[in-house]
Symmetry: C2
Subunit: 203 residues, 2 copies
Amino acid sequence: MGTTKETIKKAAINLFYKKSYFATAMSNIALDSNIRKASIYHHYASKEDILFDILMTTMSALDAYIDNCLKGVENIENRMRAAVRAHVKFHCDNQKEVLISDTELRGLTAKNYKAFVALRDAYEKKFQDMIARGIDQGYFAAGDVKVISYAILTMCTAVANWFKPDGRLSGDQISTIYEELVVTRLLKESLPIHSLKTPVVRE
Amino acid sequence: MGTTKETIKKAAINLFYKKSYFATAMSNIALDSNIRKASIYHHYASKEDILFDILMTTMSALDAYIDNCLKGVENIENRMRAAVRAHVKFHCDNQKEVLISDTELRGLTAKNYKAFVALRDAYEKKFQDMIARGIDQGYFAAGDVKVISYAILTMCTAVANWFKPDGRLSGDQISTIYEELVVTRLLKESLPIHSLKTPVVRE
DNA sequence: TGTATCCTACCGTCCGGTAGGTAGAACATA
DNA sequence: TATGTTCTACCTACCGGACGGTAGGATACA
């Protein structure tokens, strides 16, 4: 069951996900937490404080998860593989939280907004640095690093939009497909048209 | 200037984009339209009716735009190129509307929700059909059509999240980059690692 | 005179948040 | 062991204000 604060947070995550932040009332959260509305204010200073807590812990968890998955992986291509796999897996396993992180930033005041965006920018920079390094070292095809990083990150993030926990494919399976799509296709130069039909002999 | 209804709609688009649907009050829309709140109800039956109008006209316009861009294009690879280019261009040119379409569906009642999703599904099916056909004909590398279509569509749709009208790249330039990324990379088999450094002689 | 358009004034409801209090565990003093 | 104090966690009851929407009248143009 966990602490009352965790119960409140979990209820808020479900409601923000289902109804959106602004459409969710404190009384809704209270009801789902089996608590009176005023009691929430013993654990959180305001409604926004709940949202901010969700956003920051989710972003921090994502960042820590990726760092852990990259630990000890040296080769840049393998690092990119691990990063994509971790990012997609996290977005399958924490679907509601990351969707809130994507759509409810407008519920934050300027100060909290800046704090969150700083975390997010630092996270995205890790991908941009990897891509730039991979291009430098000749592992990845040349291109606009900013645009390629946006393409990869948004595509992997959006998995949270369509992933279904009880669907045809598991989070692990989707991670594997995306790892391949990104690292062996999107980041590489392609073979010419119709080369697939007639195998090409190299070297 | 246009009709009063168009003024209201335009004000609503700006506000829904900036503050979100639920955080926007009818009085806000009235203020930005230089009209009294009650007057809005002469043109729209309810707040949701405004949202529904925005969503449906945007989705219909996107669908019509893509159809027009594909007219007369026969070769499947060129069709895919045209489709990606059109999709990205539309999402740059109608940034606010498509972002609302992506995030504010929870503001719709069940009936309206179904009507919108039907349009969207039909649109997405066009891409899935193209990808399946391209794979069949050997133009595109084999893979999970559903997942690949999601990857492509979400990546192209998300351009609306980061595109800046006065930024470094124009909508046309970004469309060109994405056209290449999707059709000559993501949909193709790649060359082996480091092949970029030493050119490969084929056939 | 009829109709479309817009207005002022108002309704009931729900919102985020607060005031102030109670039950009970923890602890210190004697 | 008995008694007073403090703290956490929760409660009931309420506040001012904003919300979406409505009733019914004024204006303007055909």
